[in-house]
């Protein structure tokens, strides 16, 4: 049976975890790679990896967090205009809570699934 080392791609590019996603995208485009290795920061630190799927799933499609931000601003504005005890104000906060629940649900789903 052939071994991993016989067919692996030897040209590996690493990136720091603190780099921006824009830096990672640029590096992937320049080097024609679909994944970058995140080097351990210390001897006990594990290896990491960032893939183009990570970027597309989590950055390009990043809607929900923005939605929450918009809903929060809206709720504040409505409550300021209609009064903190008004039904409109309560409804606006309900919308925000639903979004937050959805986001929490998505996060908990993500934990069990691998990005690959």
């Amino acid at each position: 049976m052939m071994k991993a080392e016989q067919i692996m791609t030897k040209e590996v590019v690493t990136i720091q975890g603190s780099a921006t996603v824009a830096d990672a995208v640029k590096l992937m485009k320049d080097k024609q790679l679909r994944a970058l290795i995140v080097e351990p920061r210390s001897a006990t630190d594990p290896y990491g990896m960032v893939t183009e799927t990570d970027i597309v799933y989590k950055v390009v499609a990043k809607f929900i967090e923005d939605k929450i931000e918009v809903a929060r601003e809206e709720a504040r504005a409505i409550c300021a205009a209609k009064g903190a005890t008004s039904p409109e104000c309560a409804a606006a906060w309900d919308v925000l809570e639903e979004l937050q629940a959805e986001a929490a649900h998505q996060r908990s789903k993500k934990k069990v699934k691998s990005s690959l």
């Binding site: 996603v21 824009a22 995208v25 640029k26 992937m28 485009k29 679909r34 183009e52 799927t53 970027i55 597309v56 799933y57 989590k58 950055v59 390009v60 499609a61 809607f63 929900i64 923005d66 939605k67 931000e69 918009v70 699934k113």
Partner: protein, 151 residues
């Protein structure tokens, strides 16, 4: 927002479901592709797709002989398809929700294939990130919240 058709790969290779996996592998290697589209056999038949992941997970991983296995045994059919007018950010969201990485672009017939690589390499999400709020303003230019932000 950029559309799927602006960044899709137009060079698409199709294969019959009855072809062997070995034929699919040869075609992928020759054309440098990660997936092949399985064309519908009739007007009511759906599109399908066979990817390198299908071949590695379902054939190579078990030591099966690719010459003895057929594409229909490992393909995904029906597969999720994308409309050419769908915005790239919506394609990304569709992919994330359905845990897929590529889909054929269909309207009337097969126009191309769009993958996470196309989105990463050809879309403008780095230069022009679109928050949900900006998308909302795009879609509802007459909303009062959107008008505030007009130049």
């Amino acid at each position: 927002m950029m559309k799927a058709e602006e960044i899709m790969t137009k060079q698409v290779i199709t294969i019959r479901g009855s072809a062997t996996v070995a034929e699919a592998v040869a075609l992928m290697k020759e054309k440098g592709l990660r997936a092949l589209v399985v064309e519908p056999r009739t007007e009511t038949d759906p599109y399908g797709m066979v990817s390198e992941t299908d071949i590695i997970y379902k054939v190579a991983a078990f030591g099966h002989d690719p010459k003895q296995m057929r594409v229909y045994e490992i393909m995904t059919k029906p597969c999720i398809v994308v409309n050419p007018e769908l915005g790239v950010e919506y394609v990304a969201r569709l992919f994330a929700q359905s845990r897929i990485r590529r889909a054929p672009v269909i309207k009337g017939g097969l126009l191309g294939i769009i993958s996470v690589s196309d989105i990463l390499r050809k879309s403008d999400f780095v230069e022009k990130p679109k928050s949900n709020f900006l998308l909302y303003c795009d879609e509802n230019p007459n909303a009062p919240e959107a008008r505030i932000y007009e130049d």
